[in-house]
Amino acid sequence: MRAEQLGLGLTADEIATVRRSLGREPNETEWSMIDAEWSEHSSYKSSKALLKLFPTTGKRVVLGPGYDAGVVDVGGGYVATLHIESHNHPSAIDPYGGASTGIGGVLRDILSVASRPIALVDILRFGLIDESGHSRWLFKNVVRGIADYGNCVGVPTVAGEVEFDDSFERNCLVDVACVGIAKKGGLILGEAKKPGDVLVLIGGSTGRDGIKGATFASANLKADAASDRSSVQVPDPFIKKLLLDSLLEVIESGENIPGMKDLGGGGLSTALSEVASKGGTGVDVELKRVRLREQDMSPTEIMTSESQERMLLVLPASAASSKSGVIKILEKYDVPYSVIGRVTAHPNLVIRWGGKVVADLPASLVTEAPLIPWPSRKPKKPVGSSRSRASGQPSSIQEALITILSSPNVASKRWVFRQYDHEVGIRTVVRPGQGDAAVLRLPNGKFLAIKGDGNSKHASLDPYAGAAGCVAEACRNVVAVGGEPIALVDHLQSGDPSDPEVYWTFREALQGMADYCRAFGLPVVGGKVSFYNEDSATGRAIKPSPIALVVGLIEDQSRIKTMSFKGAGESVFVLGETRPELGGSEYSAKFSVAKGAGAAPRPDPAVDLATCKAVLGLIEDGLVSSVHDCSNGGLGVALAEMAMAGGVGARIDLTKVPTTCEAEAETLFSESHGRFVLSGGDERALLAALRRSGVPHAVIGKVGGAALSLATGRGAARLRVASMKARFEGAIPELMD
């Protein structure tokens, strides 16, 4: 059958390239394998060239991008592994299944490098839940899917972010990240190096679910999206738990495992081609040995199925017998397995059906999709712009602050994280709601801070600054709990790359992130790119949504900080300068902003580095009792959150805040980067230390009382902590329950 009749995702150029390179016409099975491998989701053909811009090395980096997980040294003989995944398209159709299989996928990647998953992070974007029943439905079921899967597998979901914006109405974004821990030297890579080694497929059986899932994720959502239901994979966290327990036991027992790879996008096709090409070898596989869920599957279907909960082990031939240590452990946990083939010296993927060869392709072909140099053009209007819902001026500072605190973007996400088991594993020291980032204890006596951030409104107005801003914000969040940022994984999400305006936005965002990371000294150890987040029916693209997930190291328990105001009488400080940068802010979503104040915030990595170092220094010197960074909703929200968390108010003098803004609403709600609020008992010592640091700072008030009082030149706005808390905590439950 000719390629053109097969409904592949490949372009005419790609089809021609394959024919030229092979010198013949591939058969149906071979076309499907190439289609899966060359899909955007698997091959990164639209982004690979640009991803080289990221800084990927550093003294702690053990493994950079290009593997199943990034790996960083955390000291004491241990390494942390990181990976981020997205399941945007499946979640838009089947939010429960899509989100839970997203968790399943990211766990598998962390497990496949032989590390134990210790934390999950969820970063979600939906349409406006206060306007759209559809978005409420997606939100509810995505959270339930993540909860059911993560809770069952016993890996805590410890941090996250939820953003609401009109542009995500049809294309919700579901990003999930996972952090793992392993002993240095215990890692296993996804490569088949030795001819003669055997290939063992373990875990769930192979069915028709998710066939062509990778291709599905590499195209815009169709109008009749529900018909794509078969493209969504089916989750089974119980089998995943058995895989996890059995593999970790195998690893701990010291058995030799030359290679391990999880089966994700593109199924068996991608897994086999990647282990072969990374190992410089080939494979010879008999598909009749694959355990099937449905009896009449064709070789093509078997090769492209994305049935979940499957891993590929590369084992020495001797380990494939039922007496081997590996097999005994798999059987103890009732983990199904089958030996499906072996590693060969000849670097081809030879796939057989009942002995007969049904596919024979060079391993290098399927992994070297030609890169696509898409044209780019600066858009006249920001990508993903929505109808503005802002109007007029607030009647008072109180009204502005309460409005913002009770808007879904800012309001407490307790409704979400209360559904996630965030304590299992007994490593959680700072839990959701307590601090800017999660903090977990590590087996080496140190602690790991974890946070993921994005801001699509900033990124839409100014992709370069907005993307850099995500990194800045994630770093600040890690620093606020006492962590020194050591590594980052990123995710860049956009619409259709064939649209030059979308592609321009993508390039700018990538450049912004790369430049910031380089200047800040933060290595990028992995990441993902997700295109085609667009709706064919409405032609609507999402706001560009770069995400940064940062991990930081805390050497000692005494340096762990949380955001709640701790004691009446303590002095409140602000660090960093506030500028009139209300573009894309929470304030500008509700109220009109003066022309001069509408720029999107631009982070300065040199300034941020100095400020972060200063905060960590103050923490180390024991001068600080609470720290919070300023981000969504600016200084106003930061102060309110510290008061609500501590159950105590503060008397603040806004005229003391270091600012170049003219209006007090601008000072209070601008989302300028590089700012922290902190409190401490020894005002003199803090002032002395801050003067030495050279960072702009000021004492702006004192902790105490039952209200947050914000004094301006003309009077004071007073908000009772209990009232703020009721609105802040009640906003989302009122919409969802």
Binding site: R144, A147, D148, N151, C152, V153, G154, P237, F238, K241, L242, D245, K332, Y333, D334, F417, R418, Q419, Y420, D421, H422, E423, V424, G425, I426, R427, T428, V429, R431, Q434, R441, Q557, D737
Partner: protein, 238 residues
């Protein structure tokens, strides 16, 4: 004292329980795979059934595990008076094995709830509460979707009269209010014990509160529950 921590396929708090028990001098936790012969062979001073999703909670939480050979062994040990503790999924298994009365139904909010709660100690005669005071308020976390205790009215009244409620959700001051009840569980019941007093089940996780570092207020109340095992050595155990 050797304490067996039983791991079923799908248990996910077993390693946490082993780790927590290890922090208590005098207790030697042993992780026992459910099919392991050690469960019937070795001398254990106590058995713990940890939290998780044994057998994926298929049919009903705890239902399949209750029918396993491992539970037949645990029943025999319980009959001899060996202290048995069921935490969360472990409590569900004990109820389905009929070592404890009642049933644990789906939370009335229909959602999984992970949060810190206050629980009041109601009965201090069991091996897991003998180190506590009646009325003492503990801070312990819960994390479950099916923790709503149920018994029909007459049986429930009898349970209360016989003093078989071990823990009750309450507010900071020890009052069992409706706002301190996270799941709609009847009478704010968080844990119960059997008539003989050696088998205790509770939904909150003491192993997650055994170290001050891991608790929001720096109180290691879970440790008080687990170390009660050493306060009064049970006649039946080693």
């Amino acid at each position: 004292m050797k304490v067996a921590v039983v791991r079923f396929p799908g248990s996910n708090c077993d390693l946490d329980m082993v780790s927590a028990l290890r922090t208590i001098p005098g207790l030697e936790p042993v992780l026992v795979w459910h099919e392991d012969a050690a469960l019937g062979r070795e001398e254990f001073g106590a058995v713990v059934l940890p939290g998780g999703f044994a057998f994926a909670d298929r049919l009903r939480a705890g239902a399949i595990a209750a029918n396993s050979p491992a539970m037949a062994k645990v029943k025999r040990l319980a009959d001899r008076g060996v202290p048995v503790l069921g935490v969360c999924n472990g409590f569900q298994v004990l109820v389905e094995s009929q070592l404890l009365p009642g049933a644990l139904l789906r939370n009335s909010g229909l959602k999984f709830v992970c949060d810190w709660t206050h629980v009041r100690v109601e009965n201090t005669t069991t091996p897991f509460t003998s180190g506590l005071r009646k009325g003492q308020v503990l801070d312990l976390p819960i994390a479950h979707g099916e923790g709503r205790y149920f018994l029909e009215r007459p049986e429930l009244e009898r349970l209360e009269k016989d003093g078989l409620v071990a823990f009750r959700y309450c507010d900071e001051a020890g009052r069992p209010t409706s706002s301190s009840n996270p799941t709609g569980t009847l009478h704010n019941i968080a844990g119960v014990c059997n008539k003989e007093g050696n088998v205790v089940g509770l939904m909150p996780h003491p192993e997650r509160a055994a170290e001050a570092l891991l608790t929001p207020l720096g109180k290691a109340d879970g440790s008080l529950v687990l170390s009660s095992l050493l306060v009064k050595r049970w006649r039946g155990g080693a």
